[in-house]
């Protein structure tokens, strides 16, 4: 994607004379162009995906056999923690922000994001955040080792000194996300082309709009949580220390008040992507547009009422357990509506199966499987058995990897022709898809069984009855990890050249982004399009 910009220069477009952009590294450092910033975000997130993936490989290598082989338990805990943090804050969230940057202005007929300088800033602080986080691994005592959920007092009294760096880096990530979210909201509210009413916006824009509000609501809560951890550890407060009148369980309430909406932050934009791709390749309008919008809003509201389903074993009063169980079950209803809508969109369509569609279909099936295990986890009495086992690890990887990540890959294949002006290599891409699909299930499906049989999560070594399952899982893990290098190659190849893409390479696709040439010129919609 970095070459996308260069490619534009050798083309002759109407907008060519506006392309006064710097060259070399300053172009990227000082850019305020939404497409450049989108590319930066996307590349950054892909690098983070590989870094976090490398850590997953360390985890899976250690768990390949019972016994301790490669790493000591303290380092193992650092790997799981940093893997989780990097994947959530470094891979998934920046990828969505990158897609938002590239696509939202083009989808609503705006020339750029509303706050372009802030846009530059919100990206460029991210590399520092992750450099700090990764650097802390090399400190004496190691990096964060308390899980991505950093429960107190493990993260306060009992953590190593790198905790201050962890707190600092999470603050930077949070600031970046909030700035990105403000930008999305201001852009959508003010910069829609004439005639683009709210109920005409593409669903990707809608879902991001709602996601941005979630971000603004909960990132400050995360900032509060890490700050309290900081002061408890270094400045003698006792928010989470019973000896000083605090309560360690309060930490979990605060964390999950952020954490549950956070998981929807990582999936709502996916819903938008899938709602764009499925109609395009079924050549039929999306079924139930309005109900999709309402369902997204309902999910967003409910997501503030279910946080304690992560805390059923902490010893809450029964009525609280019941309340959170009911709310959690309720959230399955709007989620179900979405899935039914996608299936109804496919019904009596005229389907073809290019790679974006393959990833989108895999998303629908595998995300639904993740939803099923989520429904099972909602049943409190049974959650006592599932909680903190590999069943949960299976559950959230189905929604995050085959959910969020698959939708991001679908989006990348779908819009790569628009970004680069070239078609990606369809044969390689199909290989990438099928290998990913098979390996990801070998990787994550057996984890359900390990969890049901009683294997706790976050352990570097396990009892012998889990040995076979873990071996299969690890093989799937290595295969999935390697397969993603193919994706890197496919994207690089597509940036470098290939069959030239039409302005609208997918005959069934709808939306303003397909009305501009491919690759999209550096500046688009300087005069707003008219929407009937």
């Amino acid at each position: 994607m970095s070459t996308a910009g260069e490619a534009i220069q050798d083309h002759d477009h109407d907008h060519e004379h506006h392309d006064h952009k710097a060259t070399g590294v300053t172009r990227w450092l000082f850019t305020t162009n939404h497409k450049d910033i989108g590319s930066l975000y996307l590349w950054f997130s892909f690098i983070m995906f590989l870094v976090g993936g490398a850590m997953a490989m360390v985890i899976r290598a250690e768990l390949f056999q019972p016994g301790l082989q490669l790493v000591d338990p303290h380092f193992f805990n650092q790997m799981t923690t940093v893997h989780g943090l990097i994947m959530v804050f470094g891979a998934v969230m920046p990828a969505f922000t990158g897609l938002a940057n590239w696509m939202i202005p083009m989808m609503i007929g705006a020339p750029d994001m509303a706050l372009p300088r802030m846009n530059n800033w919100s990206f460029w602080i991210l590399p520092f955040a992750f450099a700090i986080l990764l650097g802390s691994l090399f400190m004496e005592g190691g990096g964060p080792a308390f899980g991505w959920t950093f429960y107190a007092p493990l993260s306060t009294t009992y953590s190593s000194d790198s905790t201050a760096l962890f707190v600092f880096s999470v603050h930077i990530m949070g600031i970046s996300s909030i700035m990105g979210a403000i930008n999305v909201i201001v852009t959508i509210m003010n910069m829609r082309a004439p005639g683009m009413s709210y109920m005409k916006m593409p669903l990707f824009v809608w879902t991001w709009f709602i996601t941005a509000f979630l971000l603004i609501a909960v990132m400050p809560v995360l900032a509060g949580a890490v700050t309290m951890v900081l002061t408890d550890k270094y400045f003698g407060t006792s928010f989470f220390d019973a000896a000083g009148g605090g309560d360690p369980v309060m930490f979990q309430h605060i964390f999950w008040f952020f954490g549950h909406p956070e998981v929807y932050i990582m999936i709502l934009p996916s819903f938008g992507i899938i709602s764009a791709i499925i109609p395009a390749f079924t050549r039929k309008p999306l079924f139930g547009y309005a109900s999709m919008v309402y369902a997204t809003a309902a999910i967003a509201v409910l997501s503030f009422l279910v946080w304690a389903h992560h805390m059923f074993t902490t010893g809450m009063p029964v009525f609280a357990e019941l309340f959170f169980m009911y709310c959690t079950m309720l959230i399955a209803v709007p989620t179900g509506v979405k899935i039914f809508n996608w299936v109804a969109t496919m019904w009596r369509g005229s389907m073809t199966f290019e790679t974006p569609m393959l990833f989108a279909l895999a998303f629908v099936i595998l995300f639904t499987i993740g939803g099923f295990s989520g429904l099972m986890l909602a049943i409190t009495p049974v959650d006592f058995q599932y909680h903190d086992t590999y069943f949960v690890v299976a559950h959230f990887h189905y929604v995050l990897v085959t959910g969020a990540i698959f939708s991001i890959m679908a989006a990348a294949y779908y819009w790569l022709p628009k970004w680069t002006g070239n078609m990606y290599d369809e044969t390689l891409a199909k290989w990438h898809f099928w290998l990913s699909l098979i390996s990801v299930n070998v990787l994550f499906f057996p984890m359900h069984f390990a969890g049901l049989a009683g294997m706790p999560r976050r352990i570097p070594d396990y009892a012998l009855q889990f040995a076979d399952i873990n071996q299969i899982v690890s093989i799937g893990g290595f295969a999935f990890g390697l397969t993603q290098l193919m994706f890197l190659w496919i994207v690089i190849k597509c940036c470098r050249g290939g069959e030239k893409a039409l302005a609208k390479p997918w005959d069934g696709a709808e939306g303003l982004e397909w009305t501009v040439p491919s690759p999209a010129p550096y500046h688009t919609f300087e005069t707003p399009p008219e929407i009937k």
Binding site: P73, A242, M329
Partner: protein, 373 residues
Amino acid sequence: MKTRLILALTALFSSSALAESQLNLTRGVTDISSRVYDLHMTIFYICCVIGVVVFGAMFWSMFVHRRSKGAKPATFHENVKVEIVWTVVPFLILIGMAIPATTTLIAMEDTSDADVTVQVTGSQWKWHYKYFDNEVEYFSLLATRQDQINNRLDKGENYLLEVDRPLVVPTGQKIRFLITSDDVIHSWWVPDFAVKKDANPGFINEAWTRIDEPGIYRGQCAELCGKDHGFMPVVVIAKEPAEYEEWIAAEEERQLKAKEEEQRLMSMEMSMDELMDLGESVYLGSCAACHQANGEGVPGVFPALKGSDMALNDIPAHIDVVVNGASGTAMQAFGNQLSLRELAAVITYERNAWGNDTGERVQAADVNEYMNQ
């Protein structure tokens, strides 16, 4: 090639080892655990049915409504009736599911009228059990040898799921657990009882069980509690009530004797060899998890004792930190975990092992004197 792959896969899946390993939740050995199992299977089957319907419709369209088969796209994009149906029907299914879940949950949380009460305290990385109705309490530590973990010895059948002193409880009686922690959060979990409850420092959680069958039940700590979270199993032995009474009486007697013996032995001097032998075994059992067997600790997390100023020069401070711990750190107070002789031995050991050759002996009487100051 393809067939070979399939053959290999089937071989893998039908291998006797895999057939033996459990793939589903246990039904357990209590009424509650069996109700939990039934709930689990019910919700699982509901998901299967919904899955068959949804994925069935999806695959049907994928095969029938594809362009290569000449399918022409329809244009419908709304249908209020259908949309109401697929909002209301799932809602009703969920209500059907919520009812048994609610009754089970209420039963699980009813800890009243217990016959036996045990306090369960987690600390890095062991469990402590204290019986309320008898003068019995003890620690329960992982019994798997370090050599097995480091792959120098073959792993035993109950690798990582075995402890030196299991919790012993009677069958057929309501046992109440009061669960808490001395340091970070742990979680006490025995799948066969469907009991998993967090141990929160400074707070007490309640849980209960009534076990139908005598037997040995194994579980693990379920909440990340630091480096050796994976190495603090739970083992519970359920005995017939009569046998249990016998056991607890004998145990009470034994603990009383041990205290008397301790008083008697206090005046006895131990030789350097005796102290070092006992000290080494105590050190490996209680201290090496943090300070490491070679005394070098984990830099930045657990201090080295090898060459430490305290271990070389300052006996009173050394006794103090081992007896009382260092508050606000992972260094626990061992004063009530180890006997006076063990304390003396482990302190002596730390002052003379790994080249800390001070030649000084610390006796039980010294520790006792310090504790009584």
